[in-house]
């Protein structure tokens, strides 16, 4: 049984309870009074960029719309500007809740696979943890080729002038494509990360089982 079905089984009709227990800051969701100030304040929510703005997500959680909430791209659009937190009359930590729901959806495998933010987050993490240093050239190339070779070349050509300018100003080294720079103690970094994964994994497993 997957993590998702196990949890869905565990909470059955009570998605709100699931969010409260599993999502970081999820216990705040019930305090929303549906005023809509968060949705109105969100700078990325113009032109219906969010399928479901925060206020609506909270309502969907209460209405038990588990599948829709966990698979939506909405909360992945959050850029952590904190405008909603500042303005919320009920003092809900909305930004944190958005990230909390996104993380939970990702954790149980419900997050939309090719959503750009989610994809980039994964890419960044892999890139940075491999050598302990971010390889910017590989990172941006990885993002360009997210949707296939053709789209990647098209995107790269579009950015060509920027890349050449950066190279001229010695801000971009094309040889980074081959290996690139690393931090000194590779082994130490990997050991640290391993331990951190271990701690997190056991904590979340306990939560999901508990």
């Amino acid at each position: 049984m997957s993590a998702n079905t196990a949890l869905a089984e565990k909470y059955r009709n009570n998605f709100l309870k699931e969010i409260e227990e599993q999502v970081e800051m999820g216990d705040w969701v019930k305090m929303c009074m549906q005023c809509g100030v968060c949705s109105g304040s969100c700078p990325t929510n113009f032109q219906s960029a969010w399928e479901h703005p925060p206020q609506e997500l909270f309502m969907m959680i209460r209405a038990g719309k588990r599948e829709e909430v966990l698979t939506t791209t909405s909360m992945w659009n959050c850029t952590s500007c904190y405008n909603c937190i500042v303005r919320c009359p009920r003092k809900l930590p909305i930004t944190h809740i958005m990230h909390g729901i996104a993380e939970y959806a990702h954790r149980i495998g419900k997050a939309p696979k090719m959503q750009a933010t989610r994809f980039f987050s994964g890419l960044f993490w892999k890139n940075a943890t491999r050598t302990g240093r971010v390889n910017e050239l590989k990172l941006s190339m990885g993002l360009y080729f997210k949707d296939g070779l053709g789209a990647g070349i098209k995107e790269g050509m579009k950015m060509k002038d920027v890349a050449l300018g950066l190279m001229k100003a010695k801000r971009l080294n094309p040889f980074e494509l081959f290996g690139g720079h690393k931090c000194k103690d590779q082994k130490g970094i990997q050991a640290m990360l391993k331990k951190a994964y271990e701690i997190e994994r056991s904590r979340k497993a306990a939560k999901m089982a508990g």
Partner: protein, 752 residues
């Protein structure tokens, strides 16, 4: 009016001396005003000036005083001469403060001041000093109708102030609606949980108070008389009738919940598991007496899920159900949801609302309910479908815009149905012609309307109960005099006046008790109650001239005038508010007040000097309501908002007191235009006499005929709504109208 001696006093203070030629004003008073004694003073309202007037009263035998100084609304304490007739010419707010201090304006400003002196002198001669109504009663007892929270609070508060109380309750016990509650919404910090109702405490206070006489199982069979001398028959269950002498009445008859059987689409009456808020209170009380578990009525199983439907039959735009919000039900449903959550957090409680309205400190209470896990869903309930022991609540989710949202397997559905006032018979409906039946319109099938029963059984000509608003709540001047009904000395408090909760009802009760005490004290002294509080004048009628047309008895907004067997009007002075509507209505002009009559205003209109048509000095008469328009004009002066020097303003008690003869007289005398300034009328009236401005406007709507017979343009008379806040607007209205009249041209009646 054998020997009257008139004196005129012109003040030179506040810049009047510099801006006006006061010596000329004194001469005008002597020559045009024909006043034997005319004086000016540097500072009339100081001790020396007032002493001068007092000395003239004592040694010169002055009976009538004309003061040319500030507005009649200013310095009322300095210029207080209760034994004398007093008129005031408004030279400060009405002349120098609204005119520019320039050489060109000097002549027209002086003209204005001279006219006000002429008007003041003419007015005061037509007046007599009011002597006060002598037809008074001395009863100090307060009658409280209704033994709920409002009634008991009124009784306790009045008793504390030292007034005896008679309390009439139709059921067998005190407590009313609140007595049926399990708990109430909290009114103290931290506003987190339902609190004790406090009814038991109120009941014991009432029972322990020897000043309060309680009649249980009793009704008011007959109310006769007037404030200070009401005679009330109280019918008790045994059939015995007790008669009490009463000074003033507080009606605290409360409300009934809107009948949920009228809401079959919401399951009302279709299942025992669909109940109203009263039904849930009964279940909660029963649970508290037992094991604390609220059970569903159909099979006595513990309730595991409950849905509260807000605005059930309320805020209905279609006109089928209640049009208004009752204001208390959101807090009540939150409280009731807590009955479940406090006992067992695993019970699912959902409140479906369109707008959650939590007055008072309800916001904290709302937050507390969210913390306790009550689910709030913004939606509009379309249907409640009972099915066996459970129900399905279908609703339109307004946040997710999902028209097919539903809560299934709900054990209990609670409908928040709202308050309907127990206000007795709608006397306005009584007088309406019953045409519907004659046209053969079929009566609504299957519904049996319970005919309302009169609460007060007044012997008044206008009907047995106090007038109602269109929603059925008792009529009151909502902004200025919330407790006053349109029957002097009878006050309403609590949910019979407007929907409200316990906290508001108690505040209301206290206010109404104090107002009722004021009314009976004023009545004993023969003075008016609000809004002309303390006024000693009252309508006098010259019955020889009366044609028994009944306009005064029909139009009186306060039901003060009855009719005798010969259909002559019988004035009950203690019930009168002194608005003068009867005087305005009277076609033969036989009704007058000592200091306000067709003559006092008519004389002022005629006293104004009308320059000929070539002088380019038009004259505009303004009849301004003294409650709103006149203060607005005064305040325009205080803010130095200038307006035309061609207007002559006469304060009137109410637009309702305007007799059309004044307008005819003014137009005949050569005025170029007449502006009527009164309060807003209609459903959202602001008239201090409730119906006065409306009745006045109905009368004025017929002025076009008069204009036609005089062969005058209809622009010559203008009816305007002015509120007390129109300080900027009113000068603007005057100037625009003055400009408009220039286009119309001078009146053809000048110089006749």
């Amino acid at each position: 009016m054998a020997d009257i001696k008139v004196a005129a006093y012109i003040c030179k203070g506040c810049g009047l001396g510099e801006r006006l030629d006061t010596d000329a004003l004194v001469k005008i008073a002597q020559k045009d005003g024909k006043v034997p004694l005319a004086k000016s003073h540097d500072f009339l309202c100081n001790a020396d000036g007032v002493a001068m007037i007092r000395n003239d009263i004592a040694s010169e035998g002055v009976t009538h005083i004309m003061i040319g100084a500030c507005s009649r609304r200013a310095k009322t304490e300095a210029f207080y001469f209760p034994e004398n007739a007093v008129a005031r010419a408004n030279l400060r707010e009405g002349v120098i403060w609204i005119r520019p201090d320039t050489e060109e304006a000097r002549e027209t400003t002086q003209d204005m001041a001279e006219d006000y002196i002429r008007m003041g002198c003419a007015e005061v001669k037509a007046m007599t000093a009011p002597g006060g109504n002598t037809n008074t009663g001395t009863s100090k007892t307060l009658l409280v109708v209704g033994g709920g929270v409002t009634g008991m609070t009124t009784a306790i508060e009045a008793s504390k102030t030292g007034y005896p109380v008679v309390l009439v309750e139709k059921t067998g016990e005190l407590g009313g609606w609140a007595g049926k509650l399990y708990k109430r919404t909290p009114v103290h910090e931290p506003f987190k949980s339902p609190a004790d109702t406090g009814v038991a405490d109120l009941v014991s206070q009432v029972q322990a108070d020897s000043n309060i006489k309680v009649y249980l199982n009793a009704t008011v069979a007959r109310t006769d008389g007037a404030p200070g001398r009401f005679v009330v028959d109280i019918a008790t269950e045994s059939g015995a009738t007790h008669t009490e002498d009463i000074g003033a009445i507080v009606q605290a008859t409360g409300f009934t919940l809107y009948d949920m059987n009228k809401l079959p689409e919401l399951g009302g009456g279709k299942s025992p598991n669909v109940i109203d808020q009263a039904g849930l209170e009964a279940l909660a009380k029963a649970a508290a007496a037992g094991d604390g578990v609220i059970r569903r009525p159909s099979d006595n199983q513990p309730v595991k899920s409950v849905v509260f439907v807000q605005c059930a039959g309320q805020r209905d735009p279609s006109g089928t159900h209640l049009s208004y919000c009752s204001g208390y039900c959101c807090n009540a449903s939150i409280k009731q949801a807590m009955y479940f959550k406090d006992a067992n957090p695993d019970v699912d409680t959902t409140i479906i609302y369109t707008d959650l309205r939590t007055p008072g400190n309800g916001e904290d209470f709302y937050r507390s309910a969210q913390e306790k896990g009550v689910i709030f869903t913004k939606g509009r309930v379309a249907e409640v479908v009972p099915n066996g022991n459970t129900s399905t609540v279908k609703f339109h989710d307004l946040i997710l815009d999902d028209p097919d949202a539903a809560e299934a397997d709900v054990d209990l559905v609670v409908l928040a149905t709202g308050q309907v006032a127990n206000s007795g018979i709608n006397i306005d409906a009584l007088t309406k012609p019953q045409v519907e039946g004659q046209e053969g319109e079929p009566a609504a099938a299957g519904t049996v309307e319970v005919k309302p029963i009169s609460i007060l059984n007044l012997t008044y000509r206008q009907g047995p109960d106090v007038p109602q608003l269109k929603q059925g709540f008792t009529d009151s001047h909502f902004i200025c005099f919330p407790y006053e009904t349109r029957r002097t000395g009878i006050y309403t408090a609590g949910p019979v006046r407007r929907p409200m909760d316990i906290a508001q009802a108690r505040e209301d009760a206290t206010g109404a008790a104090l107002k009722a005490i004021q009314a009976l004290e004023n009545a004993e002294l023969g003075r008016a109650a609000h809004p002309r509080s303390g006024d000693l004048s009252f309508p006098k009628v010259r019955l020889e001239g009366c044609t028994q047309c009944k306009r005064c008895t029909v139009e009186c907004p306060f039901g003060a005038i009855d009719e005798d067997e010969k259909r002559f009007p019988v004035f009950n002075e203690s019930r009168c508010r002194r608005c003068g509507t009867c005087m305005g209505a009277c076609p033969v002009r036989v009704i007058s007040f000592e200091n306000y009559s067709v003559n006092t205003v008519g004389a002022q209109i005629k006293a104004v000097d009308i320059p000929d048509e070539f002088s380019e000095k038009p004259r505009i008469l303004i009849l301004a309501c003294e409650n709103d328009a006149y203060p607005a004009l005064d305040m325009a002066g205080m803010s130095r908002n200038e307006y035309s020097a061609f207007v002559r303003i006469i304060p009137i008690r109410c637009l309702g007191s305007v007799n059309t003869i004044w307008i005819t007289d003014a137009l005949n005398a050569g005025y170029d235009g007449v502006m009527m300034m009164g309060c807003k009328s209609g459903d959202e009236y602001q008239c201090h006499f409730v119906k006065g401005s409306e009745l006045g406007r109905v009368r004025l709507s017929k002025i076009d005929d008069t204009l036609k017979t005089l062969n005058l343009e209809k622009e010559r008379v203008r009816d305007l709504e002015v509120a007390i806040t129109d300080i900027e607007r009113v000068p603007d209205m005057i100037n625009k109208y003055a400009a408009e009249l220039v286009a119309v041209g001078p009146s053809p009646f000048k110089g006749f």
